[in-house]
Symmetry: C2
Subunit: 411 residues, 2 copies
């Protein structure tokens, strides 16, 4: 296979602290290989492709590209947009017009479905194109990979926050010594589970963790909270935003749906706060970190950042060999400590599949995780990223968004 033609890289969906590490890996690997074409960055993800909005990544300053390694958020911009049938046709048309032969899509489940559809469409159309998916999700719910880039950093920040706010809670004698933290994760409890890493002794937070993988019973929950509170004099509870009742309905769901038809979550902490206050009779205070949990590069996992960079580079290496219709995945090797190396898996096996926390990693009482989970998660949060600061704040970088048209990009 020739290495002619241009490339497009796009970021999709919710950011992670390290999604730009993958972008950096793609750009640096592209520039150091013998690709003859130009690498374009789609602005705001797939919307950028549909709306012909790109930047030429080879024109970026080297230090800004390198700066992506310590900058959270989506440097190219991303979107949440459900593609319609005609959009797929348009994508292929734009790719053909721009002479795009390589498409790198950094995203989660929905994005791997999109990448797979583009791959299939190109095949049907006999348009020679290499499509490679690059995993990204704080939710850690992509299948066929040991874990996902973005998870380790969110897990590290959440565990550190539970550690710190747990020490805070334990220290203060007052009338609101029940703490509730609501954590992201629509259908998989990986993030909520990760807060268990903060706990070293029985008194340490968190004391109770509730995951969407097992049905949530209000009565059992109240019993657990009461028991912990009576024993310790305080209680720290972590709940995944996506917990469901016996019949699979979300404990809290606003009436709205997001653009993929998923129920929009939020407000669960308030519901459980009221439940505890009315039934246990003790005041509850809530921490709802929101998007802070997916953006906290200031305390990101170095392991995660390096692995996110690695999948970006690996995607380009695979593409240079003409491998298409795949997602880069992680394989863990524990023969000598923890190491992680890249593999790949067919997009069709990943698209729209959610990997959940194995039931055997959840305790019998359904209110904590087992040691096996801890062993799995511990290596993923190791190390810190060296973020430069200016005047006491992280000195994050931006890509320059050249306003000149890219219509001159040769096809």
């Amino acid at each position: 296979m020739s290495m002619k033609g241009n490339g497009v890289v796009a970021q999709s969906g919710g950011p992670t602290a390290v999604i730009n590490n993958s972008l950096c890996g793609v750009i640096q690997e592209w520039l150091s290989n013998n690709f003859e074409g130009t690498l374009l960055g789609a602005i705001h993800g797939i919307r950028g492709v549909l709306e012909d909005s790109f930047i030429d990544l080879s024109r970026q300053k080297k230090e800004n590209i390198e700066g992506l390694k310590f900058t959270p958020g989506t440097a190219l911009g991303s979107c949440r947009y459900k593609l319609r049938e005609e959009d797929y046709r348009k994508l292929l048309r734009v790719f053909k017009e721009k002479g795009v032969r390589y498409f790198f899509y950094i995203g989660g489940n929905d994005s791997m479905d999109t990448a797979n559809r583009v791959h299939q469409l190109a095949l049907e159309d006999n348009y020679e194109m290499t499509v490679v998916g690059i995993p990204k999700t704080i939710d850690n719910d992509l299948p066929c990979t040991d874990h996902c880039p973005g998870y380790g950093s969110a897990a590290k920040f959440l565990a550190a926050t539970v550690l710190e706010t747990g020490i805070d809670l334990k220290g203060v004698l007052n009338n609101n010594r029940i703490k509730l933290m609501e954590v992201m994760g629509r259908n998989a409890g990986w993030l909520a589970a990760s807060t268990a890493l903060a706990r070293r002794t029985e008194e340490d937070a968190p004391h109770l963790i509730y995951l969407p993988e097992v049905p949530f019973s209000k009565e059992r929950f109240l019993h657990d909270v009461q028991e912990t509170y009576q024993k310790l004099g305080f209680a720290y509870i972590v709940v995944s935003e996506g917990i469901v009742d016996e019949s699979g309905r979300y404990i809290f769901s606003s009436s709205g749906k997001d653009s993929f038809g998923h129920s929009e979550l939020g407000g669960l902490a308030g519901v459980l706060k009221e439940l505890i206050e009315s039934r246990v009779g003790t005041k509850v205070r809530c921490n709802v970190l929101g998007t802070a949990q997916r953006a906290a590069m200031h305390f990101a996992s170095r392991t995660d950042a390096e692995e996110a960079y690695m999948v970006g580079k690996e995607a380009v290496r695979l593409a240079s060999r003409g491998t298409s219709g795949i997602m880069v995945a992680f394989v863990r090797d524990e023969s000598a400590g923890y190491t992680c190396f890249p593999a790949n898996v067919e997009l069709s096996k990943v698209a729209n599949v959610e990997k959940k926390v194995p039931l055997e990693w959840i305790n019998a009482e359904h209110n904590f995780v087992t040691e096996e989970f801890i062993r799995y998660a511990r290596p993923l949060i190791r190390g810190e990223v060296d973020v430069p600061t200016r005047d006491g704040l992280p000195d994050y970088r931006e890509l320059e968004k050249y306003s000149d048209s890219l219509s001159a990009v040769k096809s």
Copy 2:
């Protein structure tokens, strides 16, 4: 004045990231001076004194004392407890019984009132005792001091979080591009104001900041949000939990009161979210960091940590000279960059007085702060604390709580 007699140090109220730095300063300065008596730590603040619950701080391992410099929360424990008249009598009785001649109280407005009452009572009783208040509050609302230990670290973490979640917000095109962050601060807006440090360009978060110092008008608020959203396509709003309407009533206040009779706040973000969604018609997502903002030692301000240590040491130095009834304060010197040195102020001038953000540091539109505020706050967040980590998480330390009785402490 002789340096005979024992000392008691206690921590009060809500923790800060650096309150243990002040404790460390007190212990280390006590141990390195010629005090003949023992330094006792009251467990859970003033409650420890009332309930005869102390630890002997001279028996602590040196590395645990040194570890206080990077450990958040209250290492001795604190409480929220409004002292009754008979409690004051009891305090003095306990101090006499234990031969306590020095009392160091680390706390905020309410605590400085308590310290002052103890000081007055000892005077009336002709009991020779030296009482020194050590300022501590993330709210930065103590008067007669340039700023308060604890503020810089909370401000730094909040500004970093707004910076990171602002980048997150800007990047993602979706249907909820209005972000609301609720920040602590009952009657003073110092913390909400500090998030302005994150902003370098017009597009940067935060775009709007609302403080309790000026009345909050829902209509003006909605107008501001609408205008920003139309201009940028997204909007990042920071509100202080204590904002009030024209007649001084909290915009949100649950029916409960805390033990000092202050209204308990929380839930404001939800109220404003609904307001915006119904009137502007755009979905809003909230970040409510809760106690994370006062516990985040993992990204604390080194300036703040060092100054918190300094006030602890200074308190003991003042006590060694017999100065009683005072609080250590900060004076700023900007003759050659920023430097800060300790001064002291009478407790009676500090007790129960709240220092608010000067009105001239709030813009005419009442929706942001001026450059003067930025100049004031910028130096306070500089530098990071070197926190050791273990397995990817901060390796915080604990004091050993010896269970043996302290009745043997000689009076």
